[in-house]
Symmetry: C2
Subunit: 601 residues, 2 copies
């Protein structure tokens, strides 16, 4: 039986307080009602709920997957209890303003809670999380009628929220969305079409499902400029308060590699001509609205990926501390007892890799969350700065944890040897669960295009410059610490490389056009990400150094020394990867553009 | 329904004939009875068996896994037919000398057959393959009595062979094997102990199972020097020819992430005190003997990993040619039709990555196989050369395909987006199946220690020098081709880096000792492997260039141009990774050695 250890509370508190100083947010009007004691209390409650309710059914939800029976999707009975407790306990509404009865907690703090739930059980944590995202979209752009009709039940965990974008003929290509919306003179639209891969698109753990659905009005412009956003409930509330069927039918559920506790559905909409959708905001601006939820979901994917990698890390750590095997390279005498696996340098390397990915990713996600908070509380003239910083970090915060999370879980599995491959331990499930993340909410390829083709260039590189300034601020602080100025110097060199590569790519765009410019966008994203994570490790190292100065408890000293060792690992083992990436990007030989598709066979 | 396309016959023939010139082997006495016509015929038959018998049950064997019922392991009924056909058709004995009724086919050719079977269905191909390996061990080191008692039924596919090393308390640490063998005065030993993770350790697709088992005689020295090798049948043949139970009991089968069609078992040996084992060769030399089978199995792991990656590559290629999605970066007009995924540069990059891993790995495995053949046919004074070359390449040929195969399959899955994550396509199974390879037959960590700690140093670096000479020969040939001399130059630089890193590590050993020397052995293995694969790509590029000169058929021209593009991809996108690896190894900061195990929590 594995221990219910899937996150480090000490690490979460270190990030919230030491690195990102969450209490400074409480000097604002908006977050003024909170304080450390309250944060600690809610964190305790979150951990308790995760441990008691979600973690115990991790394996069960993987084994007994949702089934579609007589048009109804049946999920694990615990889902209803999870939704109820997350609703009543205020987790779904945690980040909502007080006007919606939310706790108006900082995004930074809400991210920590999302991370904890997902680390305990990724599928379980997704039901309330999707609901919160959909509710926020309605609250941001929906009219008062929509807010009144849907928010209370969603925030209470009684109704599920979803994000219904994808269609069979248009996966990543949102321009090709074909679901239609015909206007009526009754204040609603008739929706029809098909949606696939809709997470929690229907299930019996709630009383209703509320889809946030993209569709195209008659006569709308082609492409993404003709997409509108609708609220499409499974059961529509009549004026009487009664719920009646809204002609949204689950035509199949997908059977998947992992993430099996959450039903991923195909929906047929309006087959009987009686599906009503309610427009959110203005016509043809649907994609703009949807991107609020999408960006939150992308940060969510990063958090979910980091969460699974965190759980895998602690599972592998637990194993290698207990399991003895072999002897150190310099003490091969077979008469000596075997040593715990953790004594081997190569095992420690695999642990450091995991720790550097997990804690580096979480730090970046907290950084992005803090920018979201600062955008909220900053005076108007400074809001754009934080908005741009969040924008440029979003593809990185989605992708680095997703891509590296897979490798991190894989190293966790490797620590267990043959047992890692067996169902006796949770690593094999984590390995399957984690693989979804580079795919959903925009594949890694899409994120690369977003970063290089949009975010780096926008407003003449303003977001890029702002981010570099933030990194340079950290470098400056590290320069004054003897222990860290070597790393500050390495990061300075890395930033120079980022400039060099970015400038070269922009020159390529001018010279050879967009295809050449974007051909290696994924490699650029990788290089950009590694430097960004190095920045986060330098930040953490600064906080650790400062805390070590005044620290007396042995366990705290070990914690901070662990931080410094992991920063050291990152700078020595991960950061050097940018040198190969730079060479590839600057000298790609255009091979991916030139090759004839028929030459692959 | 996916096409039965899991390998490229054209590529196999290109490697056998153009690159490695298999026909030159037939000028030897040993292989003199063969010719191209025969090779082509057997290859056809192999493909037919793979397509008709193994491929159709790929998914079925994954879904309906072996079960343990009343002490008997039940596998898919097709396993019996597979063993029968592989036995009667001569595949199990294909590489055996004619004195055992084998076809005495070159290792190079047998490797191609192993690759084909595994690509069609990894679990299915393992049953006959393990049997061949065990039979070869008996034929090499067993006495005539053992040969007569076991070989005919094994080579006929009636009896399964296994490799029984691993024990619960001694996974990778063979020095700690504890199974015991008590001598009797009747020519056999009483065996007792426990073995775990024994592939095909029992099943009802054969009439008997023959374990090649490591155990320790009473009073034997500690560690690996006290291990002996025994034949331990499930049912022992009495003099009368009758088979009687030999007290080998399956205590459990393991439930696994993938590779599910093959039962991986735990065995209890001699619980009733009636398990007889028959010594192979001399006492206490068991590990030496076992390593014959183990080395063959390590090449087999490389082939199996490459095979799964090959099947995944063709499945993803098939998908991206048919599936339309989005438009090219420079033609975003939504009124234009969507283009096939293969038109996108990033998709072509993912395909090139897969192709470079699959065909680069297969080329290396063929190279290793050729050295095995040359060792057989070379005059005595040259045998050692080829033996050393095979020795130093074995950890690379095991590990590079295993580690990169996982990433390659993962990119194949990514090409399908959400569908890649679903059971509607085979990619998710390949993703699970492939994950075994960095674990079994010596983990990647063990292979790193083997390469750097043993193979690079042995005989004062003789194997290392021989390999570098082989690489330099290829460089010299490439230098004379205009199209390739740029790559020849890059490979020369890479070899210089390999020298520099190797020399530095040897200096570290002298200065700081073995722990420091071996701490980054896995990174060294990765660097070594990338250079080795670059060498293989240069070899393939030379052959492609030469063939292109005289080539008229359009499909052949596309094939050779595909080879050149993939070589180009490898030199531009994969080879540069050695620069980061070099920096990490030379400047590791000893972080993995220094960190306190308690600092991980």
């Amino acid at each position: 039986m594995e221990k219910a250890k899937f996150i480090s509370e000490q690490n979460i508190k270190f990030l919230l307080h030491d690195v990102f100083n969450i209490e400074s947010l409480t000097s604002s009007d908006y977050y003024g009602q909170h304080n450390r004691k309250l944060f600690d209390m809610v964190l305790d409650e979150t951990l308790k709920l995760a441990k008691d309710l979600m973690w115990p059914i991790l394996e069960e939800m993987d084994q007994n997957t949702p089934i579609l029976e007589n048009g109804e999707v049946k999920v694990n009975p615990a889902v209803r209890e999870i939704m109820r407790q997350c609703g009543e306990g205020g987790w779904i509404s945690a980040g909502f303003p007080e006007e919606y009865n939310g706790d108006q907690l900082p995004v930074l703090f809400v991210s920590a809670c999302r991370f904890i739930f997902w680390a305990s059980n990724y599928s379980a944590g997704t039901f309330p999380d999707l609901t919160a995202g959909a509710a926020r979209l309605i609250s941001s752009f929906g009219d008062q009628n929509l807010v009144d009709s849907y928010l209370p039940n969603m925030l209470a965990g009684k109704w599920q929220g979803t994000m219904a974008l994808t269609e069979p003929q248009a996966g990543s290509s949102l321009a090709d969305i074909a679901a239609t919306a015909k206007s009526t003179d009754k204040g609603y639209y008739h929706l029809s079409g098909n949606k696939i891969f809709i997470s929690a698109g229907d299930h019996n753990g709630v009383d209703n499902v509320v889809h946030l659905m993209l569709a195209r009005m008659e006569g709308a412009p082609g492409g993404v400029k003709g997409i509108s956003l609708f609220v499409v409930p499974k059961l529509r509330p009549e004026e009487s308060g009664q719920l009646v069927s809204n002609d949204v039918v689950v035509s199949q559920i997908f059977h998947k590699l992992g993430y099996r506790g959450c039903p991923i559905t195909e929906l047929s909409i309006g087959e009987q001509g009686d599906c009503r959708g309610f427009l959110i905001g203005e016509a043809n601006k649907g994609l703009f609205y949807m991107f609020q939820m999408m960006n939150e979901a992308r940060i969510g994917v990063g958090l979910g990926a980091t969460a699974i990698a965190s759980a895998a890390y602690y599972a592998s750590l637990d194993y290698v501390k207990q399991r003895t095997q072999g002897r150190n390279a310099s003490h091969k005498n077979p008469d000596l007892p075997q040593v715990p696996l953790i004594e081997h340098a190569d095992v420690k390397r695999m642990l450091l890799f995991q720790k550097s990915v997990v804690e580096g990713s979480l730090s970046l996600l907290m950084q992005a969350s803090l920018y979201a908070d600062l955008e909220i509380i900053a005076p108007n003239e400074e809001k754009e700065k934080y908005s741009l910083l969040l924008d440029i970090l979003t593809p990185v915060a989605k992708t680095y944890p997703s891509e590296m999370g897979i490798l991190s879980v894989s190293q966790g599995l490797q620590c267990l040897g043959g047992y890692g491959y067996c169902k006796d331990f949770s690593l094999e499930q984590y390995y399957r669960d984690a693989r979804i993340h580079p795919i959903h909410e925009g594949t890694t390829g899409i994120q690369g295009q977003d970063l290089l083709g949009r975010k780096v260039l926008m407003q003449n590189g303003k977001a890029f410059d702002l981010l570099i300034n933030e990194i340079k601020d950290t470098i400056k602080r590290a320069m004054s610490l003897n222990q860290l100025n070597g790393y500050a110097f390495k990061l300075t060199q890395s930033v120079d490389i980022l400039y060099e590569v970015t400038d070269s790519l922009i020159a390529i765009q001018a010279e050879k056009g967009t295809e050449s410019f974007l051909a290696d966008a994924v490699l650029y994203l990788e290089l950009f990400s590694i430097i960004t994570i190095a920045w986060q490790w330098l930040k953490q190292a600064i906080s650790a150094c400062k805390s070590l100065d005044s620290c007396k408890s042995k366990s705290a000293i070990l914690f901070y020394e662990g931080k410094l060792s992991t920063a050291r690992y990152f700078f020595h083992y991960e950061l050097p990867k940018i040198y190969g990436l730079k060479m590839s990007i600057l000298d790609s030989g255009d091979v991916t553009l030139d090759i004839d598709p028929d030459a692959f066979k």
